[in-house]
Amino acid sequence: MEARDAARLLAQAQRKARRDLDFRSPRLSLLAASVVLVGLGAIWLSVRSQHPYRGPTPAGLAVLYALVAIRIITVIAAHRRASAGVSGRSVARRRAEGVAVGVALVAVYVFMGALAKMGASDAVVYGTYAITAPLIVLGALWAGRSAIHEDWPMFTSAIAIVLVAAGSAFAGPRGVWLADAIGCCVVLLAYSASQAWLRRAR
């Protein structure tokens, strides 16, 4: 085998292994962007003409939850496919990360219940807080994880999500849903494009 052939074979094997062992893909990110745009957009449509603000309607929530369920199922399926046959330290680490995300989300919604009990308005509890707090917490967790793994495109996207969520709070309880729908969709589309570009470049 000539050196040039060896270099080509090595690059091909590395590219194939990275792709096959990594569940993330531009397509999955594209799906996430669609879920965010349509799901949060549906909530915005359900609250935009409420005066006074009462919060998302059951129909709006049903659309959002259905889309989130589809997203979760596709991620689990892709993850199972990619991690089939893999064992070791990263498996335990991923489980711990899942626990951290789950606990953080539960804490966000427990805090939301406390806000409602303390008499905070529906506009704060079921509007601004309901969407910005989970996005800020998830974005911050994801940014920390990405920094540890030196995944800089993901890190940049996670930080952008945190900034979009924080900034969207100024749009008020109705506008916050639309601002996050568009802002997060743009961030996820940019991430998907960066993934596609990196895959071609490697």
Partner: protein
């Protein structure tokens, strides 16, 4: 160009693929024999032969868990194997830059 300076243990298409595939895993992770076979596309007999050569050189470690039909063999690169692949890659890069 005769690549005599390249590690002859790695400089074989099937073994180069095995090493590159295992190196894509995070440090401390292992891959099952069947998944490795699926990723590389070698026959079981061929794969076992190459794995044995790499294991004899301490480039990879294998572990068998369970027994009978439920048994599972996992393979992982050792530190020595990772270092050998890095050296191989650097040598290859140097050779190609020199052309």
């Amino acid at each position: 160009m005769a690549p005599d300076v390249l590690d002859p243990l790695i400089h074989v298409p099937a073994r180069l693929q095995i090493m590159a595939t295992l190196a894509a895993l995070p440090d401390g992770d292992a891959l099952s024999f069947t998944r490795l076979q699926d990723l590389i596309g070698l026959t079981p007999g061929n794969l076992i032969t190459h794995l044995r050569k790499l294991e004899d050189a301490d480039y990879l470690a294998s572990e068998k868990t369970g027994s009978g039909p439920a048994s599972r063999t996992s393979v992982a690169l050792t530190q020595r194997g990772r270092a050998a692949l890095n050296t191989y890659t650097e040598t290859l890069r140097g050779m190609l830059n020199g052309i």
